[in-house]
Each structure stands twice: as C-alpha cells, then as structure tokens.
C-alpha cells in the first residue's frame, strides 16, 4: 500500500580520492557537478533528473555508502512516516534543512540490514539539465561519457532481510517485485519497488551488516550499454562483469568500479511492475542464471567484493 514515499532521491558515497572520483562520475558516467559545500562534499546529478542532486561524494578513509534517501510527497507525510518508523521500533535522527545544500529537513534511520536511509520532502527543483520544460528537445547535446539518464537504484548487502522487508513494505509502502528463495523457503534476496520500475532498492542476505554492493544508473538501450563498455576500456576503468543481461529484472547491464572500489552499474530495459502483479520468484539453486542470464554462473566477485 502506498505510504507517500515517491522515489529514490539521493545517495552519499565515501571515496578515497575526491578529484579522481569526480572525473569518474563526470567524465565517464556523464553526471553533472551542481554544487560543493563547506564540508568539501560534491553534489552531482544525471541530466534527466529534476532536482538539484542525486549523488553526493564525500572524501573519507574508507569507501562505501553513508546513506540512501527517498523523497516523500510532502512535509506532513514526512511527519507521519517518522512516527511510523519510530512505532516500528527504530530510532530516528533529524537533519536540519540545509545540512545537505538546498535540501529540506531529513529524517534518518538505520534499517535492520544495517544501512542508513533517510526521507525528505523538499529539494531545490532545478529542472532537467540542458533541456527546457516547454517544447523540450530530445536530449541535451553536451552530454559526456556514458550519458547517464538518472540515478536508478542501489543493491545493498546485509542481514535481517525479513525485518528489513517489513520496514520497507509495511512502513514505507514498497512492494516486492522479485525475490530469491533458498530450498528451505527463506528469502535471500528481495527486489523492492515504489513504482513501475523492477527495483528502487534491493537487498541480498549477507552475514555482515551495512555493506554496499552497487549504485546503478539508467541508460536507454543495449547499444548504450555496449558503448559504456567501450568507454570502460578506453579509460582503463576496473571492470567487474558485462555487458550481459540479468535474469532478475531482465535488465541489460555492465558492472564496474569507481576509483575507490565502489561498484557502479549502468543498465537498460528490464521488466515493469504494477502493485497488483505477483512477485517473481527465482530459486537459489538457479542463482547463476538469475544474476547473469547469459553465463548462467556467478562470479565470486559479485558476492564478495563490497565496500
């Protein structure tokens, strides 16, 4: 049931070398730097996004994800969801408006999986980059690199998937698009959505909490994925796997790493969902095909290389 959570809003990533990371996200992925703050954080967005930023980079001693945020419909919904999260048994932390530049107040909480999430209602609306709102052209001509269309979703690794499911489905109003069940019927992967997208957030069971697997950015076509692969080679960027297709979501994909070892994905296509659709189930014993539809075997790196 819908609870007023709209969509993924932003992610803050820790990086070891800020300048190398900016070059990666701007020149290779094609994001646009929109601002910096007094803490030295850098704000970026993909061209089709209407709000000011979707990716925040912070230089730190260890890479990984600080938090992922979802936008909610309005300020009163932020209040009611805060009460619901507290009633679920989680502590919330309030971040003042302006703590992230041009973003309204945020409510942070730690999911049972160990990951920090936040909700917010307001962010500066700067419009799509490089196109007008009236009679817009098809795309801006000055795009660079992979020309990422939008920040799309994250895959996170952690434990307590069942409690995390309850938080996201019962409290925040996500619904289950796809799942992986082990032979005993335990859910070891859950792909959750707020929308028609195959996933807005996904979790895979892992003994250690709060691990980051990847942040994914949307491209339009398979041809764009192949072009991204060319750019990964041209720049000697660390490749994980691809280009290939996923079984889960059926999206076309390539995985690679940013200069600090945070995994990125660009993907295209994929299934659509409506809330009345039954969830799709993959068997853990067929996980190779579920993750990599063509190779049909998992590579160890997909399961163990995390930040």
């Amino acid at each position: 049931m819908r609870k007023g959570v709209l969509r993924p809003g932003h992610i803050q990533l820790r990086v070891l070398d800020l300048e190398a990371s900016i070059e990666h996200y701007v020149e290779l992925l094609g994001l646009h730097e929109t601002d910096r703050d007094e803490q030295g954080r850098v704000y970026l967005k993909a061209w089709s996004e209407v709000d000011k930023f979707s990716l925040v980079l912070r230089e730190a001693d260890e890479p990984g994800m600080d938090f992922m945020a979802f936008k909610v419909v309005d300020d009163s919904t932020l209040d009611s969801l805060t009460a619901d999260i507290e009633a679920f048994g989680l502590e919330v932390t309030h971040k003042e408006a302006g703590d992230l530049k041009d973003c309204g107040r945020r409510v942070q909480f730690t999911a049972p999986s160990g990951h920090v999430f936040e909700l917010y209602a307001e962010k500066a609306y700067t419009g799509k980059w490089g196109v007008e709102e009236t009679n817009p052209e098809a795309w801006p001509r000055a795009l660079r690199g992979m020309k990422a269309v939008r920040f799309d979703h994250c895959l996170l690794y952690g434990d307590e998937l069942a409690k995390t499911y309850d938080l996201f489905v019962d409290v925040l109003g996500f619904y289950l698009a796809e799942q992986v069940l082990d032979p005993d019927g335990n859910r070891i992967a859950q792909f959750l959505t707020l929308s028609m997208k195959a996933h807005d957030i996904a979790f895979i069971q892992h003994e250690e909490k709060a691990k980051f697997h990847h942040a994914s950015f949307y491209l339009e076509t398979w041809e764009d994925i192949l072009r991204a692969a060319d750019l990964i080679s041209m720049t000697n960027t660390s490749l994980d796997i691809g280009p290939t297709r996923h079984g889960i979501t059926h999206g076309k994909t390539i995985y690679f790493f940013d200069p600090s070892g945070n995994r990125n994905e660009v993907f295209a296509g994929g299934d659509y969902m409506y809330p009345d659709h039954n969830p799709i189930t993959w068997k853990a014993e067929d996980l190779g095909k579920a993750i990599f539809y063509h190779d049909r075997v998992l590579n160890e790196r997909f399961l163990t290389v995390l930040t």
Binding site: L16, D17, D61, E62, P63, G64, Y157, V180, D182, P183, N186, I188, A189, I204, Q205, H206, E207, E208, K211, S238, F257, D258, P259, S260, G261, N262, R263, A284, E285, D286, L287, G288, V297, L298, N299, E300, R301, L303, T304, V305, L306, T307
Partner: protein, 116 residues
C-alpha cells in the same frame, strides 16, 4: 625504468612488476591468479597481502581493510602496492573481505558452480 620480481609465498608464483605499476595489475597482466582480484581501487580488501621482505610505496587504501597499524606491520592492498625493490609477499585477505560469505554463497555452494 626498473623492473622488480614479485614472489607470492603460498603459490610460489613470481612475476615482473614495473617500478610505476601496481602489483595486482602486473599479476593480472601475466595471466596469474596468485592474489584474488576485487575492485582494484583500494576499497574491498580481497587482494590484501603482507609484505614479508622488500621496500614499496602504497596509494590510498581503505582504512577499514588496512588500518594504519596494519600498514606499519607490512600489510597492503596489492592493487595499491608499488614496489621499489624485489618483494616477497603473502596473500592475507582482510577478515572483512573473507567474512563476506553471503547466505547466497551458502545456498549456491550446494547447487551451482563457482568460478574461482
């Protein structure tokens, strides 16, 4: 430019590494697998090694995988390790990285092939 010989103790494999080259990249370019390859960016810790002998420099590495104290003891991530002499190293993946065995891995080990 100087070339150095890197020897990994467990596998007894040796390979050449240029002075300005990262050890992991040199290993990969020789088609060897004596050290596990992860993110190649100093983040994930799977290519952690202990340098038994030799001199070297390190690029920035995740402190979660190699703490300052561990770095002083000779631990390093091979993807950020540049030799300034011949090196004898030993694979020593970060406990964080090798504890990264997922529920998925356990299910998978029963049923599917794993590419090592």
């Amino acid at each position: 430019m100087s070339d150095y010989t890197i020897t990994e103790q467990h596998s007894q494999q040796s390979f050449t590494c240029h002075q300005d080259q990262f050890v992991l990249k040199a290993m990969e370019s020789h088609g060897l697998r004596s050290i596990a390859v992860g993110c190649r960016g100093g983040g994930c810790g799977v290519c952690r090694v202990k340098v038994i002998s030799g001199s070297y420099e390190c690029g920035r590495m995740s402190k979660a995988q190699v703490s300052t104290e561990q770095q002083q003891q000779g631990y390093a991530l091979a993807c950020r390790l540049k030799p300034t002499s011949d090196l004898l190293i030993e694979c020593s993946p970060s406990p964080l990285a090798i504890n990264g065995i997922t529920g998925v891995t356990k299910a998978k080990q029963k049923h599917t092939e794993v590419i090592k």
